[in-house]
Symmetry: C2
Subunit: 408 residues, 2 copies
């Protein structure tokens, strides 16, 4: 059994018109007018496909294709919101491929033992409201609905998430988490270069990196670059750069799949001939192994403190984000592997370096993800692209996997 | 013989009212209305002191106290323009202490063999028009008057240096460089912490650092901090930070009085979870020894190119500024030393880490500088401060030195 790639492709393209940008790509921020239009279109398609549409209190949308038995359902889906100047595939692919597999079941007149549930989660990207993945986070009981409601829009409009949900008509009545789910499978683009580089069709995502974001705030003394002898300096910028250069060394020391990034740096006053009196730097560390990630954090802090002390610079550390790694369900991973094998695709087990709604769902049910290649690993960018044949194979793996699980 | 510190202090304070800021300090940008008012006040004082006032074509002001003989004169002075939010002493001290020594000669009725010439040079700071030190630079024949005239104001008003000179009435007729000068001595605040730290009264400035400013422009690839394996990254930010951290190592390797500063850094897109696709960094290297400065430049470039290549990052180097070190006249330095010794002051030979008009005058006549301590080395700042007793000793050293030279 195969999905209808033409129908899927035309829906990706129709969805891509909502919030479309001149040069390609889309901006469809969560709970914006564009998000409302995307939700309305999905709702129309869900109803056309005969699904029972339910909206929960945090605005998550569910389309139920009832099974023969009243067992917990098999859920699939992702999100329709995007970052500013995002692509056509991040999120949308998972939702629309889920819809497509339901259409395929309809076309073939297949009745299933369990229900299939298509999900579109609220505010995965976290661009307009924090935190990100808030829909799946509240759904899985890891964040309070009340707190989520109070988030204020970062676009300066001072509206809250709750009032925006109400305004666009997606503050539903279903109690968050009330749906019974037996398993969750999310199809997503990799957003990294690994599958393309290794010429593989499918990534079976068995875990998700833990994330540690640290900000260092350094206070030294601004001084004249010519008149201040080296020994009398308190160079906050130098300390920041030494910490930044150390991150690569640290990653090598920790080994495994540790990665580390210094994406952001700021000097004050940031003038060519002034010793920086202040500097800020952020360090992003990720690992699927929590013990190693913790060790990396400890070593980083020790190095930073030692370096700052040696330069006479005051250091403040702030942990901005700390997520534990998520281990997906090995059973679901095996079902995905079997599906890919059955279709004759090349595949590998891998980890996700980005956050996804699946990491929240993993708390409440067996969960795993299916990755398809991203051209050059580009994502959160209008140039985000996955070739149509890879979309087709990904959607077919999703179909085969869900079909297997839904009959159990 | 001693200067009259009360008169000098009251003049520093009166000059400090022109362009005064609420919280202290002054803004008196070159050729602004404030600069005109400062010039007018100086001209009034010069005339009151019986000086013959001459303005040259670049707006440098000279006050001549004629000697008995028609020999080249002994010149002293500095500048009255300031940076934005500057202090009361940088520049003004040298001009007003020069005026004070002339007043002292007048008070005592002393006739001199040579003329004493008091100078106020145009646009030393280079904030409103580039280049800096343009008045002394044109005076000493190192920059063309015509080019200097064409400089456009950086305040957005699109007026030229020439039209501003004309507007404020200081486009003089004296041909630049037509004054014959036997020696130039400039009294200035140190703008660094060395004299204060070492509890010394006087710095005898024997040379001035050469300056090399280099900008590195790095192009890598922006990538997701979670999904991009370390081996596939082209991290422009990492290369910038490695170069920046190396500058301190380089300074230690070069030794001597080498200093090095990374004052400015910028990442693109500068986001916590994005591998920087671009980075810019500047390196300020200074040394009084030109051969060592050149070696430092070469080593820096080799390290930068090697590091960029290892990370797969493209590198562009631009040399923004390169000034050779200036060696002042040892004979004048000895006269200053003798004067300080005669008065019973503590002193040391030192270099200047900042640029001064004296470096331009050194091209046309024996030149040296006298430094007095700057509290905490703070300068270009309303908090710039030199205690009154240090101003008095500095002005007395200037008087004694000029008096010795003017009778030869």
């Amino acid at each position: 059994m195969h999905i209808n790639i033409k129908r899927l492709q035309s829906r990706i393209s129709e969805m891509g018109k909502i919030g479309a940008l001149k040069g390609g790509g889309v901006t469809r921020l969560s709970l914006s007018n564009e998000d409302k239009a995307a939700r309305d279109l999905l709702k129309k398609w869900m109803i056309q496909a005969g699904l029972e549409v339910k909206i929960d209190q945090i605005g998550n949308m569910f389309g139920l294709r009832k099974g023969k038995n009243d067992l917990p359902g098999i859920m699939t889906g992702s999100h329709l919101d995007t970052v500013g100047e995002g692509g056509l595939y991040d999120g949308s692919l998972g939702v629309l491929a889920g819809l497509e597999l339901i259409e395929t079941l309809n076309d073939k007149g297949i009745e299933t033992e369990r229900s299939v549930i298509l999900a579109n989660f609220t505010n995965e990207e976290g661009v307009r409201f924090t935190p990100d993945m808030v829909g799946s986070c509240v759904f899985s009981g890891q964040y309070k609905l009340k707190e989520a409601y109070q988030a204020i829009s970062m676009d300066g409009s001072k509206t809250s998430l709750e009032s925006e949900l109400h305004r666009i008509g997606y503050k539903g009545e279903l109690h968050c988490g009330d749906l019974q789910v037996a398993a969750f499978i999310e199809l997503h683009i990799e957003q990294g270069p690994v599958l393309e580089m290794e010429k593989l069709d499918i990534g079976v995502v068995e875990n998700l990196q833990g994330i540690s974001w640290t900000a260092f705030d350094l206070k030294g003394e601004s001084n004249h670059a010519g008149t201040t002898p080296m020994a009398l300096r308190k160079d906050a910028g130098l300390v920041a750069m030494k910490i930044g250069a150390y991150v690569k060394t640290l990653v090598n020391e920790i080994g495994g799949n540790q990665v580390g990034t210094v994406g952001k740096i700021e000097f004050g006053p940031n003038l060519i001939n002034v010793v920086p009196g202040s500097a800020k730097i952020t360090v992003d560390l990720r690992n699927t192994d929590n013990a190693r990630l913790t060790l990396a954090e400890e070593k980083l802090l020790r190095f930073a403190e030692k370096t700052a002390a040696a330069e006479g610079v005051e250091i403040l550390m702030e942990r901005l984000v700390r997520f534990n790694p998520v281990i997906f369900d090995d059973g679901i991973c095996q079902w995905i592997e079997q599906a890919a094998q059955q279709i004759g695709l090349s595949q590998k087990r891998m980890y996700s370096g980005a956050g996804h709604d699946a990491q929240m769902l993993a708390k409440v049910c067996p969960t795993a993800m299916i990755f398809v290649p991203s051209e050059k690993g580009i994502s959160h960018n209008p140039k985000e692209f996955t070739p149509i044949d890879k979309i087709e194979t990904g959607a077919n793996v999703l179909l085969t996997t869900v079909l297997a699980l839904v009959q159990k």
